[in-house]
Symmetry: C2
Subunit: 212 residues, 2 copies
């Protein structure tokens, strides 16, 4: 997946082009930032995705500017997870620990009805597995109001930084604390809809995700 | 700050143009995604920022492609915080709770030495306040290796979703749990650099951030 566009230019030792590494970063998330050119101007919009095999699926309102534009122009997609603040002895060597993936490509409209429904399940599973089997599935009117796009992951790269700070040799003598402050993401306690009329239990999808 | 570019097109009731709302979202974060056009192609790169007043500061290696390009072309910047998964009774009405800001503009190089140093402190404070006073500050060689850019926040918009799911009227009768699963970010236990030769205590900057 290493091409001229995806080659990591700065600190190339942080660059990775292996599909399994790229997939594993994509699978830990469901929000990406999509960049495209609109009226000669760059636009960056956050959106939800789902991955199945080498395909990324996107969905939204049929009239969404992002999706209408994405059908016609190439995009750049970035997914970034920030895992820690890296505190060095010098201001200069402060850094972040992160996993990041960038994908370049051209999305296309999914028109086949079965694939459209399958794509919506892939996106749902990306956010909260099992939920698809608990809910009322999309009806014909809702499917008509929804646009589904797909993008093959052909040009992609990952950039990763992990581990402790790296300081200048002479700075290791300084009486300055150095290390990593981890940033953790977790789920809070589920909040029932105030309109929940019956005393329904927390569903398996939520329990499964919270205990993962 | 509402212009033709920043006007929230989808679900306009989620759009906000008030500077205080935009600042408050920017101040809860330090990572943004910057989009720009490079060789006619959209590129999205995650980077760190700091806000002071109506100015966003960016920094990086002097040779960084992002920063070198940012001096010459307009950019789109997005900051998104995902705060909850919104579980509706229907698949269609599932959503996310989030705060998101998009800024459009053209960055410029900061050349004044005092402002460059001040900008680096602003960025440091954005990530971890107090740290700047604990570390070895940048020397002349490090300042030379660092490029600083600034961007005035003139065109910007925020998009916010909060609260419980909104379902179709007839779906409220279904025996399906609905509500919000909050996504929380927190700091873990600080990990000392294995090379920390003295038994230095956790510094105030880390204690302050963890206890905030």
């Amino acid at each position: 997946m290493k091409t001229n566009k995806t080659k990591v230019k700065r600190t190339p030792k942080r660059g990775h082009y292996d599909a399994e590494i790229i997939y594993s970063i994509l699978d830990k998330d469901f929000i990406c930032q999509i960049g495209f050119v609109y009226d000669d101007y760059p636009v960056v919009i956050p959106t939800i995705y789902g991955r199945k095999g080498n395909t990324l699926y996107f969905h939204g309102a049929s009239v969404s500017r992002l999706l209408v534009t994405m059908e016609t122009v190439p995009v750049s997609i970035n997914v970034t997870q920030t895992e820690g603040i890296v505190l060095a002895r010098s201001a200069f060597h402060h850094s972040l620990n992160y996993h990041s993936v960038t994908v370049f490509g051209q999305a296309s409209l999914v028109t086949d009805m079965d694939e459209r429904m399958e794509a919506l399940k892939v996106i749902s599973d990306q956010i909260i597995p099992l939920r698809w089997d608990e809910v009322r599935l999309p009806n014909a009117k809702e499917m008509k109001a929804t646009k589904v796009l797909k993008l093959e992951i052909s040009e992609a790269s990952a950039k990763i930084r992990t581990g402790p700070p790296k300081d200048e040799k002479e700075d290791y003598e300084l009486d300055i604390w150095a290390g990593v402050l981890p940033i953790e993401k977790r789920f809070g306690k589920a909040i029932a809809d105030p309109e929940l009329k019956m005393d329904l239990p927390i569903p398996d999808s939520v329990k499964n995700l919270v205990n993962k």
